[in-house]
Amino acid sequence: MSKKPQAAEALVRILVSAGKASPQPPVGPALGARGVKSMDFCKQFNDKTKNIVPETPIPTVITIKPDRTFTFVTKTPPTTFLLKRAAGIDKGAQKPGSEIVGKLSLKHVYEIAKIKQTDANLKHLSLESICGSIIGVAKSVGIQIVH
């Protein structure tokens, strides 16, 4: 009556630019190594992100089953990306804490938190706690949050 345990599903986490998935690296080798046709993923991904401004990094988690079929979940862009864009900067501070490269208001933080709450992982959290973590991320990037 013993069954062989099912081969583990592989999880692949990638950061892909919206609308720009292509078989080339970084997407290609990561998927190809697990036997998934990267072209299929690219088509599906680009289809799903066609409403998003191109070049927005979208973290995705691809679940690859043992029979080489896959499903994937897209999430909201990284908080650092949203913060940097709202502050109008390209790169974060070289020495966060001692350097300040941008300034944002609590109202920006609130709006970003509203976006983040649409994420499946964060739905159960209160807006207050999400705002708190965003302020923490801003600190690590060198963005000052003011009233």
């Binding site: 998003i52 862009p77 502050a87 109202k107 949050i145 009233h147």
Partner: protein, 126 residues
């Protein structure tokens, strides 16, 4: 200082009074009404000394929208945001949260202290 403030406020008040109290008072009573109203009208309740936001109402918060068919959100009036938002930058208030039992950090702190106490007692025995 206070006198000049009330003096500058009075004209506005007087206008409001005449429109509202004209039903009840004759024109000659306006001055009386004015004097008494300073006692009657409730003083503005002491609102929490809140630093006004640097972002005024109506300003678009650029760079937040990332959808093609979406627009950048527009800042609302300060009062339309939840109260806790303005306390987020206040370190004292954030630390105070950890003293209440409905907070995860409160329980973690308690557990860590209990573990340290246990380890201390265990060490003493050896």
């Amino acid at each position: 200082m206070y006198c000049t403030l009330t003096r500058s406020l009075q004209p506005a008040r007087r206008i409001l009074l005449t429109s509202r109290t004209s039903q009840f008072h004759s024109a000659t009573n306006i001055r009386d009404a004015n004097n008494t109203v300073e006692k009657d009208t409730p003083k503005p309740t002491a609102t929490v000394a809140r630093q006004l936001s640097s972002v005024p109402k109506g300003q678009t918060l650029t760079g937040i929208n990332f959808l093609k068919d979406g627009k950048d959100p527009v800042a609302l009036d300060d009062t339309e945001y939840p109260d806790w938002l303005w306390d987020l930058l206040d370190e004292k208030k954030q630390k105070q949260k950890t003293t209440k039992p409905n907070n995860r950090q409160y329980h973690r702190k308690k557990n860590r202290e209990a573990i340290k106490a246990m380890n201390f007692m265990k060490d003493k025995k050896t």
